[in-house]
Symmetry: D4
Subunit: 171 residues, 8 copies
């Protein structure tokens, strides 16, 4: 089974990235997770990317903030699909990270997720892997059904309690 | 072989989307291409998404501008990976399209490309498909090598001509 | 009497949406309120929109944040007027929600309110309904007169206390 | 039959506003159209707003660019629903107009449309009027069906011609 | 002596506006201060503006947030100079207020200050009044000299303590 | 009579600044006009500012684009009121110029006009000077009346021709 | 040995600027540090800049927020390289400071760092000085090696503990 | 003499970069100029950076647009000072390039210039090199004096012709 390779530029990104890990564990997708910096350890990062496929990785998730070069730098060294998570910044809210990840030049794509959208990065990786793994496909259908059911349960609760009581009950 | 399904919200997006088509043809990836609107033909769009997998589609590319709901609306109805192309707008430059595509809620990812980044949407789709199709993998390696060679040829030309002559020769 | 249908994408929007409910109750406008997601429960959402008029709804208020597709997705399935509340986001302040709601394509309008502007969404719904219901018209005139009076009372208090004491008295 | 009142701050907005007029004529909605400025003719503008209901107006459409106060200034003087069209500006693309129209304070709503979204302003006005006028309701259903059909015809043409020929045929 | 007229749209702006009052009191400039809303009490606001000159006012300071129409609405009704203070908003940081105040159309200027820049609004008003009142001119020169001296004293303290101790001493 | 001093950072700003000159000539306000750069001729610029009052200047208008320091640099060297015109930039539309002019620190105000708002800078200067010169006050009232009349004439023409003919007649 | 001259517009910038000081001390680079304002003490600031080279300074670091003119004003008075630190603002996050620092006109460059990027300003100054001082060059290589090692140690810890334990251990 | 190394990501950047070349030639600074891409030729780019110092380079200028990783990627592989030129983009005006260049993480600085600010990148490089080369220092003083003189000549022309004739003479 192909693994997901997760890379983040700094351990300060781990609280966000952890949400991607949780999704992968829920789906029982194998993964590797690394701290590697496009700027502080560029050669190690490039090596990771170059060897990813030989190491059994099928999709790479890379998280970075500010001048968020990590996903693009990895994408330049592999032809595995790379999914980028723009990390929120304290100054610009993450719009800097988003632009740095998404506005890649012709030839080297990176798939941009929402700012801090780590769960979706993992879900998207699972969706990619499910093309070659029908079991994931079924699990994803269940996951979506669960999500839908949660929405419906909340709606039922709202019908039952009304908005005022609902708010009290959840605070 | 899995196909790529391309959808655009309006035929005014076709000049951009055509660049994705050209990439797919270069890689000899089969594709379908449709005009379908999240807002003007919502049910047809939803049906397309729901039936995509049964119709042999493996990846969906959706292009839209402004309140660019199309990729997200399709992603809500399929668990195939959906790649979004934010179309440049005359008023906001496409930042509206980008936010509408990328800022998806937890659970339903869309992979955002650069504004007007149609080639990369297609290349990313090929990268996804290459996981199950080593032939694409080889072609992508060649494509990258060609790109690198073009850069190097331009650099050689620059060394030969110098910047002044280079500019004259290319204008 | 026509009802107002309120929909929000997630119960995390309820603290904001509650302010719309309070206005409707003040005006004794009947309403339904639902949690329904453009992405997690797309078919239920579409059904709600399609059946809204038959269910006695005259105006729909839809609140959503980020890639805030909910108002547009509902507007695509009904020709009742749809009023959108862009929910503030922790990363982009709600400018993403605002663009996703307001920048609708030709043919399918959504009426955008201020970010988190739930009271105004409800007031606007009442203004629409008052066209067919002169009683609401009178109530709205009173509501405006009350608002004006509150401003004038605050001004009187400011004249009386001066800015320094006014600030102390209200802290 | 209730009329639509259209106001623009300057005749330089007329090329955009004209698209709203065309929609209203298509739907055979009666309308008045005025040039009146929030800043240059404030009293005339206020009078227009105060007398609008007595003059048989049911919905007001106001277009303005830059510090686009016109819709809000009118909304302050009437309780008819006011729909704002933010006009694109040459410097900021219309984001200034959008914020000035949409970010109204609690109590006085304005319904913001897309930047330069004049057609949708008119369609939204018709949707409001159709609550008291079932004939408009039927016409709007037809209008939507026509729009959907145009999308489908374009899609059929695309299936027939393929993207390359389609582009040639429409250039 | 000409007075300064201060107007704010809501008493929630008073903590910011109070800083303008403090400057005016420091310079012993007479002032009036009012709560008056462009949208909730439009006629009272217009009257204030129309009568301002006859009431002995020479400069008007108007503070507002969001769709900050107040300064422009006042400027439309008087030819006294109007200085606008854009109030910071919780969603957009005040860029909405800034655009609404500054992007006035040709013919009706408003002088925009920094977001929340209430002191500078008052200082600017004093600078205007000092043209007809040399005493203010002298006071302003002293005020500037004091500011310069404070900067120099802080610099001296920094030379003496060094950055580490300076930080400790001021925390 | 106090003069207006106009300064621009580069002669490329003159086409915009000329509109301020035209207003001053219309009002028969005396003026000086200079090209002086905050960065290229800082000492000459500072001298201009320091000597402005002694040279009979009452208000300074400064136009600059990009990191538009000129108005602030002048304001630092004079206590005459300084009005800043943010010049539109080809890259950021002038939002850079606007922020650089408007976001001045506490103590040294600059009055920001709209991007490229040169007419309003001149009108604002006249409004300031009219406090000490009732003749300008009367002229400004006439100017406003003329503006209002132009709006009304355009409205009359629109009532007469209708929007379609109006557009044809003005193209 | 050439010194680094550090200037900040206000002592409120010192907590950020202190991080630059710490880097310079780590590298044993001599420095001066001053509080001097482009607007409140313009002449002292200009003198500092004019005399910097004669005072043994080789690189100037200037920090400022809002209409952050300080780096540009200094650059106008010296031909030493000037490095600007845009300080985060509470209203616009520092994008105003960034534009004011970076968008300098042709002829007078300022080197912009990240918002609040004080460490990098100091590191960049050291990189400049190392051209004439091979010892700094060696120290910088060590500094980078240390940074790389820290990243690798964190990665090793992550491999050992896994993401869950890592997060617990660092909170 | 140390050389300047210029790198651009694509030959489409050459028209902008050429302006840096012209400055270097004017100052008789030796330079190398290359086309090398962070994404399409990452290894060649890294090698260039790693060998730059041994090849006699003292400062590197790197120009890139969009997700402009090139300057940061080079900075990660050398400790020579790296100056980044953000290239204007057709969609976002270059704010994407600016953020990607300027918002570098702690440890690896890049000196950001204005969008398309190629002359200033070269001037800044000369300023750096002048620390070890007093001849450049003198030339830069002359360059600045020439610039100042040009401004003064334009001002003299403006005094002579007046704004109206000046505009005619330069169009």
């Amino acid at each position: 089974m192909l693994k997901v390779g997760i890379v983040m530029g700094s351990d300060s990104d781990l609280p966000v990235v952890k949400k991607a890990v949780d999704i992968l564990e829920k789906f029982k997708v194998e993964y590797e997770i690394h701290i590697a910096s496009a700027h502080r350890t560029p050669q190690k990062t490039a090596e990771f990317a170059r060897n990813a496929r030989d190491n059994g990785i099928g999709v790479i998730i890379a998280a970075a903030g500010g001048a968020a070069h990590l996903p693009g730098v990895i994408a330049a060294e592999t032809i595995l699909p790379v999914v980028g998570i723009p990390i929120k910044t304290s100054t610009l809210g993450g719009v800097d990270s988003l632009y740095s990840i998404v506005q890649m030049p012709k030839g080297i794509p990176v798939a941009g997720m929402a700012i801090n959208g780590a769960e979706n990065a993992a879900l998207f990786a699972v969706q990619i892997l499910s093309l070659g793994n029908p079991e994931f496909f079924e699990k994803m259908k269940e996951y979506r059904a669960e999500m839908a059911q949660q929405v419906e349960e909340k709606d039922s609760k709202l019908q039952e309690l009304g908005p005022e009581e609902y708010l009290k009950s959840s605070s």
